[in-house]
């Protein structure tokens, strides 16, 4: 089988070049020796004979090279030749090469960057092996209409006992603890209290030590904790060294029994922010790195059915589905509702954990993927156009090559190689761009995008980029190859070769279609960007109800060990009140500070809600939603500039011993006191009736895009529970950061202070996801517009160049210059009109992707569409008129006399 030999030879020629060369050498030497021997036999000296033999042989290296050529794989050799040829060609037309490479690099780079984000966030396998089997069990509340509420402890224990469709049901709450050390400032650590079976259920194994045991999860059990790997490293160098150590958490010694791997983010932040209430640190906006794990120790005695503090995560039993679990838990909840009057209106709602985690980011990422794909499409169309234009001027070359015997396949390969060289260079540039922009992208991304830390340009992403580039390259290789198929050898060769002929009708149609395609794609992106910009604009114009400018916040939490709140003498808590009074006085004394206040929650923290009644209208109140309770110090209203609508504000005189008073916001007044005077009415919650003494404006405490909820304001001296210091200054509030930290350090050096930032920063972060989507889509739309403009310009520039003779004749015959411009622009207008029609109908589909990101504007907003149409039309008309105008400036006599 000679082909076996052949393959072996080829392979050898490829892998063992030295051996092949040695063989060739030997063969030639044997030849020379033999020839020399013959010369010697005629009487020549050995030297002369060798010389003569060499002379006869000719160029030894040339012969050897020719021999090597035979053994090399011809297609490989051809590819190398084609590659070199393509490179030379591209170098000869640098304008085309640069335009094509830059265009494709933009498209490929943007796609690579977005793909790496999507892969990192959505596609990469989760660190949790059984993520797709995990579900969230929410409680629902028909009276307030919430579908995502945490559960009560007794409900959890009942669910756990009765459920069959889940083989595990585990609970968690998120909190924060102060870590105090002798060697450093106290710090605030994100903490989860979890059921003992939470980690095994998630499939997380400790890296050192053990998880919690069942007895440790009982109320009153000894204090044991797990800590994260990174905290263990920070405190004890090695995870193993942490075992058996004691740490001071909230000023209580806790013994470390295990270390949890760092990659255990199962979406805590997303779970918390999905919840209607009890968001805990979800609004902090920092990366959710949980450092401390404590046993939940659920105690129905201290946490009765009325309170809903815990989040339930379950694992589907074998053969069970989310729908089955939902059905079962809904019926269990219905049973509980019958059994316990306090559960009136309560139901259950089961969601896949992965939907909870990725639900909010999916639309944004899909939107970006779609946007970036459109950019790539436009880039491709542009390069296709360039290729078409260039192909037209290359028909001569193609014809000559065909005449010399180049087969269709050979020509096809040549074109393919050219477009590959082009595209891979572009891909390299694009990937570098993506790599360079990655940092910016990650910095821009909102912190609540899950698993952002997994985003990187790894091998898979590069592989994806390579595949993408290859598809693009093949597409572009095909276009000129197909064009070459249409080349008529005889007429082309007879032509004098200057591309005198006008573009054929076929080619003109193709270019027209491409122009329409890229303009339509640009319309889609532009309208998306337009809607997002308008939404963002609307959002920024929303009055938050308070004035964030010039306010610095600093958060803290008083440990109950040293700041006890005794229920029996409540609201009198001397230590807490003394702390509040002294901190307020110290902060007010800081230079540059105009107002100070303490509050349970800052104006962008939704805080907590409670059920309430208006005295005398108890029956009505059964169906009222919960109200946001906002404990504040009297200075709060001046500090955040929350206006008084009527009545009076809280005063320093509203002390624990004074009659209990409250303010309600306008929303509550409108809802519950329509046509009546709220002043003087009594509102009851937490077992105390308070007289309403005033009405204040609305604060958008749930974020700018949510309407302000009903709220009641009470003095922290009549409802202890401050957690944030607010300081107003006429200067840049951030300059006060250290001074404010110092206030706390002087007051209580054991206290951890966190979340020190301006309200402006907090406000800006609350809309960061929208900003992220808006900025990126706008950037892509700008690129798309630029590319489309360049594309239109390129096409019409070429069109005009091809028609130069025709236009010159028209001019020579007396056509006005303006009519020449009109002639070209009219053609452009037709294309623009078609493109707008297609683009806007496509945009309607595209913008529905956006609906969750829109605010105060409809997905089919006619004003936006009109604006987009106007922008695009202007750009396209300018891009087509420019070459037309240049064409009208030409001197017809010169063009017509010129020998092409």
């Amino acid at each position: 089988m000679h082909w076996v030999n052949r393959i072996r030879n080829r392979f050898r020629a490829f892998t063992n070049i030295q051996a092949v060369d040695r063989d060739l050498d030997d063969e030639v030497m044997a030849h020379l020796e033999a020839a020399a021997a013959e010369y010697q036999s005629t009487g020549l000296s050995r030297e002369a004979a060798l010389l003569a033999a060499r002379r006869d042989f000719g160029a030894v290296t040339q012969v050897m090279e020719d021999c090597r050529e035979v053994q090399r794989m011809p297609w490989l050799a051809n590819m190398g030749r084609d590659g070199a040829f393509a490179w030379r060609l591209l170098k000869r037309s640098p304008g085309f090469a640069v335009a094509a490479v830059v265009t494709l690099a933009l498209g490929l780079g943007a796609n690579t960057a977005i793909y790496s984000v999507i892969r990192g966030v959505l596609l990469r396998p989760a660190p949790l092996p059984s993520l797709d089997r995990l579900v969230m069990v929410w409680e629902t509340d028909r009276t307030s209409g919430t579908t995502h509420e945490p559960a009560s402890v007794p409900d959890f224990l009942d669910y756990q006992r009765r459920v069959r469709t889940l083989d595990a049901l585990s609970a968690l709450t998120a909190t924060e603890v102060n870590l105090t050390r002798t060697t450093a400032d106290p710090e605030r650590l994100l903490t989860l209290r979890v059921s003992h079976d939470m980690l095994p259920m998630l499939g997380v194994a400790t890296v050192a030590g053990r998880g919690f045991s069942e007895p440790e999860d009982r109320p009153g059990a000894s204090a044991v904790v797990l800590i994260s790997q990174s905290l263990a490293r920070r405190l004890f160098e090695r995870p193993e060294a942490a075992l058996g150590q004691t740490v001071m958490l909230d000023e209580r010694p806790q013994s470390i029994v295990g270390v949890v791997p760092d990659q255990t983010d199962f979406g805590v932040l997303q779970i918390l922010s999905t919840a209607a209430y009890s968001r805990s640190f979800a609004d902090r906006g920092q990366a959710a790195r949980v450092d401390v794990w404590m046993p939940l120790q659920p105690n129905p005695a201290t946490l009765p059915r009325e309170t809903h503090p815990i989040f339930l995560v379950g694992r589907l039993a074998k053969d069970s589905t989310r729908a089955a679990a939902d059905t079962e838990l809904v019926s269990i909840a219905a049973d509980l509702e019958r059994e316990f009057p306090v559960n009136r209106g309560r139901g259950a709602n089961v969601e896949l954990l992965s939907d909870v985690i990725f639900g909010p980011v999916r639309p944004v990422l899909y939107l970006l993927a779609a946007a970036v794909f459109v950019v790539l499409l436009i880039a491709c169309v542009n390069v296709a156009n360039l290729q078409l234009a260039r192909g037209a001027t290359r028909t001569q070359e193609v014809a000559i090559r065909s005449a010399l015997g180049a087969g269709k396949g050979r020509l096809f390969r040549q074109f393919l190689t050219e477009s590959m060289v082009l595209t891979y260079v572009a891909a390299a540039v694009g990937v570098s761009l993506a790599y360079a922009s990655m940092k910016g992208l990650l910095a821009l991304a909102p912190a609540d995008v899950p698993r952002m830390s997994f985003v990187s340009l790894d091998g898979t992403v590069l592989g994806g980029a390579l595949i993408m580039a290859s598809v693009v390259a093949i597409t572009f290789g095909v276009i000129p190859a197909l064009q070459a198929r249409r080349v008529d050898l005889v007429t082309t060769l007879k032509d004098d070769g200057a591309g005198k002929g006008t573009a054929g009708p076929h080619r003109k149609r193709v270019r027209g279609a491409l122009v329409v395609a890229e303009l339509a794609a640009a319309v889609m992106l532009l309208s998306g960007a337009g809607l997002l910009i308008r939404s963002f604009w609307n959002l920024q114009r929303v009055a938050p109800g308070f004035d964030p400018q010039g306010v610095l916040k600093a958060e803290f939490q008083l440990p109950t060990s040293r700041y006890p709140v005794d229920r029996r003498v409540w609201p009198n808590a001397p230590k807490v009140h003394a702390f509040a009074g002294e901190v307020l006085a110290k902060a007010a004394a800081l230079p540059g500070v105009t107002n100070v206040a303490l509050a349970a929650a800052h104006p962008l923290d939704p805080g907590f809600t409670n059920s309430f009644r208006i005295i005398g209208r108890e029956a009505e109140g059964v169906n009222w939603p919960e109200i946001s309770v906002r404990p504040i110090s009297p200075g709060y209203f001046e500090t955040v500039r929350l206006p008084l609508v009527r009545g009076r504000l809280l005063a320093d005189a509203d002390q624990p011993e004074a009659p209990a008073v409250a303010l309600i916001n306008q929303a509550a007044a409108d809802r519950f006191f329509a046509g009546r005077d709220p002043i003087g009415a009594q509102i009851r919650f937490w077992g105390i009736a308070r007289t309403i003494v005033g009405v204040v404006g609305n604060e958008r405490i749930q974020g700018l895009s949510s309407p302000p909820p009903i709220a009641v304001y009470v003095s922290i001296f009549q409802a202890p529970g401050a957690g944030v210091l607010l300081v107003r200054t006429a200067r840049d509030p951030l300059t006060l950061s250290n001074a404010v930290r110092n206030v706390f350090r002087q007051q209580d050096p054991m206290l951890a202070v966190f979340g020190v930032e301006s309200l402006d920063q907090a406000l800006s972060r609350s809309i960061s996801q929208r900003r992220f989507a808006m900025l990126l889509v706008t950037a892509f739309a700008a690129v798309a517009l630029l590319l489309a403009g360049i594309g239109v310009y390129g096409v019409f520039n070429y069109d005009v160049a091809v028609r130069r003779r025709e236009l010159s004749i028209r001019l020579a015959l007396g056509a006005a210059r303006s009519s020449i411009v009109r002639l070209v622009v009219n053609h452009a207008l037709v294309l623009i009109a078609i493109a707008l029609a297609i683009g806007i109908s496509a945009a309607f589909g595209f913008t529905t992707l956006l609906s969750s990101l829109l605010f105060g504007v409809q997905a089919r907003d006619p004003m936006t569409m009109l604006g987009v149409a106007a922008i695009l039309a202007v750009i396209a008309i300018v891009a087509s008129a420019l070459p037309a105008w240049r064409a009208s400036r030409i001197d017809p006599s010169r063009t017509l006399r010129a020998v092409d």
């Binding site: 000679h2 082909w3 030999n5 052949r6 030879n9 063989d23 030997d26 063969e27 030639v28 030497m29 044997a30 030849h31 020796e33 033999a34 020839a35 021997a37 013959e38 006869d56 042989f57 000719g58 160029a59 040339q62 012969v63 050897m64 020719d66 021999c67 050529e69 035979v70 053994q71």
Partner: protein, 108 residues
């Protein structure tokens, strides 16, 4: 008489023919062709070796390493079965062509 250039495409035939009887190394093939043509046909070394490698690649001849008369490691070529078949075919075709050309050229 001056050596004449080979008619295009005939080198392969000459090589195959020269290898009909025994296996030879490159120089011996050139010598054989020279001798058989009574010094008329001079094979250019520059084309001989690429041709040999090409024929080997096509499986018409095969090579074995041996030792030349000068005690040199040399590559000896011999015909394969396919090579023999090709030789017969090409030789027949050549005869037809040559006699046809002779008829035309010598006609009066």
């Amino acid at each position: 008489m001056k050596p004449v250039d080979l008619v295009q495409g005939t080198l392969d035939l000459l090589i195959l023919k020269s290898l009909g009887a025994e296996s030879l190394h490159g120089w011996a093939i050139a010598r054989r062709i020279r001798q058989l043509s009574r010094e008329v046909l001079q094979v250019q070394q520059g084309s001989l070796y690429p041709a040999l490698h090409r024929l080997e690649d096509q499986g018409l001849i095969k090579a074995t390493w041996g030792v030349s008369e000068q005690n040199r490691r040399a590559k000896f070529y011999s015909l394969t079965k396919t090579g023999q078949k090709r030789l017969d075919k090409e030789a027949a075709a050549w005869h037809r062509l040559a006699s046809a050309i002779t008829m035309v050229v010598s006609s009066t």
